[in-house]
Subunit: 389 residues, 2 copies
């Protein structure tokens, strides 16, 4: 554990079947005006919307709505929400949905009282909020992003073809509370479930594959990966397995709430590559990550050999006896690929709609990270996208 | 992951060499009257006291002191501190020391504004605070208890020969902030260092060895144990190894801040046995745990065989090929014992001052837990103490 850091994660989590009843503990802490935020309407079909609205009503709240938050929320949608929240004089933003809806609520929380253009301030300049930040609560219905317990918010700007995530340093941006009910995730389509699972796995990898020092965070990361491999295999066979789905939900939260990045440089290159694909194709986030991972890992393996070897042995139980480090490391990547195929993840970007003529644009849209085992240049980024076709 | 739970841990942690400077970020948040709490005076010898006092002064604080908090803080010392904190109209309690000093500060925080006798209310009836809880900050100088990020406080009552821990449910009892500077721990004697390491390991085990369900918490626990085994071996050879000592410090915090107990029943029997020994002998806490562990684990092994087997394989890398479950599990316990002896832990209670005539009294002082693989009766407790002699 080298380097100095601070850690603070005050989000209160209510976990378990029926946990939404704890809105009764939280809603009284805030003023009357609530803005309820949700996505495409699946929460209306599965009854979660009705449950939440009933609790808002019984707590005497005056509710305005922002509906139709899309899977990759746009800056235009943010501007629209700012109008609604301002007009309603919002005391609390309540997100009901997956990571996109939570992210959107947090982006809104730092924008409602902001005098500047939030895209420029938070996503181009990466400034911290200087205005009052509205409190956010989440009722999570999809699993993967960890948005329920962190200060991150990804937005997409279609005009400039950019999908950018800002992880705010200010813990006031974190949700004040989040409701995590694994039963809410049981009705998701298989495609969404496995995309979420891979998003979680990628988050862990992107913090794990950096640094050469010894670090407790890496041991915790290995535990989370082992748990996820185990539970995902059960859930892949039986999507209704509550135990497996609840473990996946809990792993997702801890994969990206800053814990396992403490003391680490981290390398978010897979997300940068995947987000570029997302900005061009609007493909499901987790699938964009899966589709670029193997090419990226194969590319950086020689530069992070010791860690890829450790990954093979400690996460995938590869037996290192009588093998070279490179052989062990490559066997680990094969095991990873085999698990990804078992889940049915999308393993190339062509399948997500990427065509040859987009490659230069994708490279332009890819933000280069500096925390990993190899800092990529533009030519390498294009090569990785080509390998991923 | 079965069962419902909530999780909230708002303590802000400042980690790293020189982290005490962050008192400048925290002190301005509180009123003028600070009660500075410390132990036997080692903080005066190593300069930490002077550093903290200088920061209190430059932040314009009016400071009263409670000195001489003992390794197993007593209820009499609590009464004395209540007088001081009341007289000083304390706005903040600042603990500078190890787990005992932090525990004491938290016990004081819930007692200063309490109308009833705190021993009766919190330690005999296990009530939650109904009064205003004073804010606590910690500057940690010893590692092991996790007190810097939890709501637990252990007190000893010499008159009734009871040492009782209360883990408060109310997150307001948790420290508002804690400073974790690994360099502060470098000057500890070897005996204190390894006792702290074993305290950490025991905390993890006591949450791990319960339940038969599949649970992400257990995977995180295994990661923490592997990290601790690794770092403790390095620190045992070179106490000045900053990387190892910092990993140990960080592991200690996560071993007992409620994370790895989420969704678990937990079994604190080793602490119950050890605390009885502590109440009779005033021995170092971690050593009392080490001295009773092997007898307890051997006793419950047949009832938790599957978990002890998993422990052997996942934590101590025992190769299970061609062995019975019991053989694998026993090999795991041998590996544990061998690591404990390598560290130089006290492996029996006679060495800590327990004599045959105390055994009945020890059994009386042992609170029976109900979360583990075997609920002990009084005869079994006496048997375990005898085995531990």
């Amino acid at each position: 554990m080298l380097g100095d850091f601070s850690y603070c994660n005050p989000t209160k989590l209510y976990f378990g079947a029926g946990a939404v009843k704890h809105l009764n503990d939280e809603l009284p802490k805030y003023g009357k005006n609530v803005v309820l935020i949700y996505g495409g309407g699946s929460v209306k079909k599965n009854g979660i919307y009705d449950e939440v609205v009933a609790l808002l009503e019984s707590n005497g709240k005056d509710v305005a709505e922002i509906a139709g938050v899309m899977p990759n929320p746009t800056v235009e949608k943010l501007y629209e929400g700012m109008e609604i929240a301002r007009r309603h004089k919002a005391d609390l933003l309540l997100a009901v949905g997956g990571g996109s809806v939570c992210d959107y609520a947090k982006a809104l929380a730092v924008s409602v009282n902001c005098d500047e253009d939030p895209w420029e301030k938070y996503y181009l300049r990466f400034d911290e909020p200087t205005c009052e930040v509205l409190p956010v609560g989440c009722v999570l219905t999809m699993v993967g992003t960890g948005s329920e317990m962190n200060a991150g918010a990804v937005l997409t700007n279609h005009k400039s073809k950019l999908k950018i995530g800002h992880v705010f340093a200010d813990e006031k941006v974190m949700p004040r509370f989040s409701v995590l009910d694994p039963t809410y995730t049981l009705t998701l389509p298989h495609y969404q479930m496995v995309a979420g699972i891979y998003d979680i796995f990628s988050h862990i990898c992107e913090q794990y594959f950096s640094g050469e020092d010894d670090n407790t965070s890496d041991y915790i990361a290995e535990g989370l990966m082992r748990s996820l491999l185990h539970s995902s295999r059960i859930a892949n066979k039986d999507m209704k397995d509550y135990e497996a789905r609840s473990n996946i939900m809990w792993t997702a939260t801890w994969a990206l709430n800053t814990l396992i990045s403490r003391g680490k440089s981290t390398d978010w290159m897979v997300h940068m590559l995947g987000q570029a694909v997302g900005a061009y194709t609007d493909a499901t986030h987790g699938m964009t990550l899966a589709a670029v991972t193997m090419a990226y890992f194969k590319h950086i393996l020689p530069f992070g050999l010791a860690k890829f070897k450790r990954f093979a042995v400690n996460v995938f139980d590869v037996d290192p006896t009588g093998k070279s480090d490179a052989e062990v490391a490559e066997e680990g990547l094969k095991a990873l690929e085999s698990w990804m195929r078992e889940l049915g993840l999308v393993m190339n970007i062509s399948e997500l709609g990427v065509t040859e003529d987009m490659l230069e644009g994708l490279a332009d849209a890819t933000r280069i990270q500096r925390g990993g085992y190899k800092i990529l240049d533009r030519a390498e980024i294009i090569e990785i996208f080509k390998e991923s076709m």
